[in-house]
Amino acid sequence: MAARAAALPSPRARRSPAPGLAVGLSTLYLSVIVLLPLAALSWHAHGWEAIASAQAVSSLKLTLGVSMVVALVNAVAGTVIAWTLVRDRFVGQGFVNALVDLPFALPTIVAGLTLLALYGPKSPTGVNIAFTRWAILVALLFVTLPFVVRTVQPVLLELDTEMEDAAASLGAGRLATFRRVILPNILPAILSGVALAFARAVGEFGSVVLISGNLPFKTEVVSVYVFGRIESGDAGGAAAASVVILAISFAVLLAIGGCRRWVTRHDR
């Protein structure tokens, strides 16, 4: 018995330092970089009635509502775009691929100025949605564009086409193949991108301010409200409002994570 055990090295014994190290290091990094500042922020938070005012609640509802719409639109649009970039072949495809991240690399002021010029009162296309809630939606779609695209792309690239070919040879139409074979495999990636898009949309400030007009109860997003608290010397209230926003976002992110676990329940 002892001889046989010694002949084949136990995989677990061999791998034992690595998991601990990876988990330990990444948790340490996350704590120092993210949790410590968040802890300092929460400690500093006081004046919780700041987030309970009618104006604050209105801005929060608006932000959460628009962010969810943005996440959903991105789920569909991002998947379609990722599909086109991976499975399709057309002239200029590489060029389009290279552009997808740019909304992200541009400073938010430039994003705001550009959207105001293109989709505002002096729009060359005649589309004027500036200073309405649509403006917030468009600005957020602009800055969250790369997320779902870029999380779905690598999964599509790694996807084995064997299953699709098998489905096709068994007579499944393209839509059924997509629904039954491809979608379950890319859904976790879509949800990953959706989580990113939702979180970014909730926290976005720079690209939204210029084009939305920030009217309380109409087009004021919660990041502008919080900024107003800071500028008015109420950093404690701003911190309190931010902690509440974080808690809600955290809940949504956990829910998305739960969705993903439910979707992949058969794989475990």
């Binding site: 998991p19 552009l99 690399a105 430039v110 994003a111 690239l157 839509l175 991108g193 800071i230 974080l246």
Partner: protein, 258 residues
């Protein structure tokens, strides 16, 4: 058959309205007075220094977040530890904080009177690096996690039973599978680090020629009604992002020609 064209048309139409038009506008505003003014605008001493600052911030934040990203993704997906679900959700939280609040949190922590205050972190490069890392944290994790889940553990387990060490398993089995995901994660992280404005603005102190990043420089030009300067600097950032993408996606192994 038309399905393919419908999908392509929908994708390109969406991108035209939301991507091509704005980018075209930015390029037009940059170059409408010719190449000369645009070039002059981005080669002023302040602009060049701001570019250096941004490159330093990016050069530190991206590798740090990439290593963290891979370790974290492995931790979440492979090494199921208690709290992995919470860890997973916390990773995305940096994005949900508006940039001004990120700056505020860093000032509270590292500023005068803060828990870790008085060590020259804020209003200097270290603070700006921390802010940049904070806002660009999630991307590599988010890219790699779905792929790790997708490929499953079979190959890794097979490698282990065949006697491969952890490192061998990683480099021979795991890495090739997450290479694309990591590449796109790096591209997103870089783009985010380049474009970061709000948080860095608060913690930098905006000392001209010292702690001004290129995005802060863009705002400075915009404040001074120097339209060409602002847009040209934005174009520089865009070009760096595109270069990163090209670098990341052309480093393909020969077998993967698609």
């Amino acid at each position: 058959m038309i399905g393919k064209y419908v999908v392509r048309f929908a994708a390109l139409g969406y991108l035209a309205a939301l991507l091509a038009a704005p980018l075209g506008y930015v390029f037009w505003r940059t170059f409408r007075h010719g190449l000369g003014p645009a070039w002059a605008a981005v080669t002023t001493p302040d602009a060049v220094h701001a570019l250096k600052v941004t490159l330093i911030l990016t050069a530190i934040a991206v590798p740090a977040n990439t290593i963290f990203g891979i370790l974290a993704a492995l931790s979440i997906v492979r090494y199921r530890f208690p709290g992995a679900g919470l860890f997973n959700a916390v990773v995305d939280l940096p994005l949900a904080l508006s940039p001004v609040v990120v700056g505020l949190a860093l000032l509270i922590l590292y500023g005068r009177g803060g828990w870790l205050g008085g060590h020259g972190v804020v209003f200097a490069l270290p603070g700006m690096v921390l802010a940049t890392i904070f806002v660009s944290l999630p991307f590599v994790v988010r890219e790699v996690v779905p792929v790790l889940r997708e490929i499953g553990t079979e190959q890794e387990q097979a490698a282990a039973t065949l006697g491969a060490s952890t490192i061998q398993t990683f480099t021979r089995v795991t890495w090739p599978a997450i290479r694309w995901a990591t590449a796109y994660g790096v591209v997103l992280t870089t783009a985010r680090a380049l474009g970061e404005f709000g948080a860095v603005s608060v913690v930098s102190g905006r000392l001209a020629g010292k702690t001004e990043s290129l995005t802060l420089y863009v705002q400075d030009r915009y404040q001074s009604f120097d339209e060409v300067g602002a847009y040209a600097s934005a174009v520089v950032l865009a070009l760096i992002a595109v270069t990163t993408l090209i670098l990341m996606t052309t480093l393909k192994p020969k077998e993967e020609t698609r």
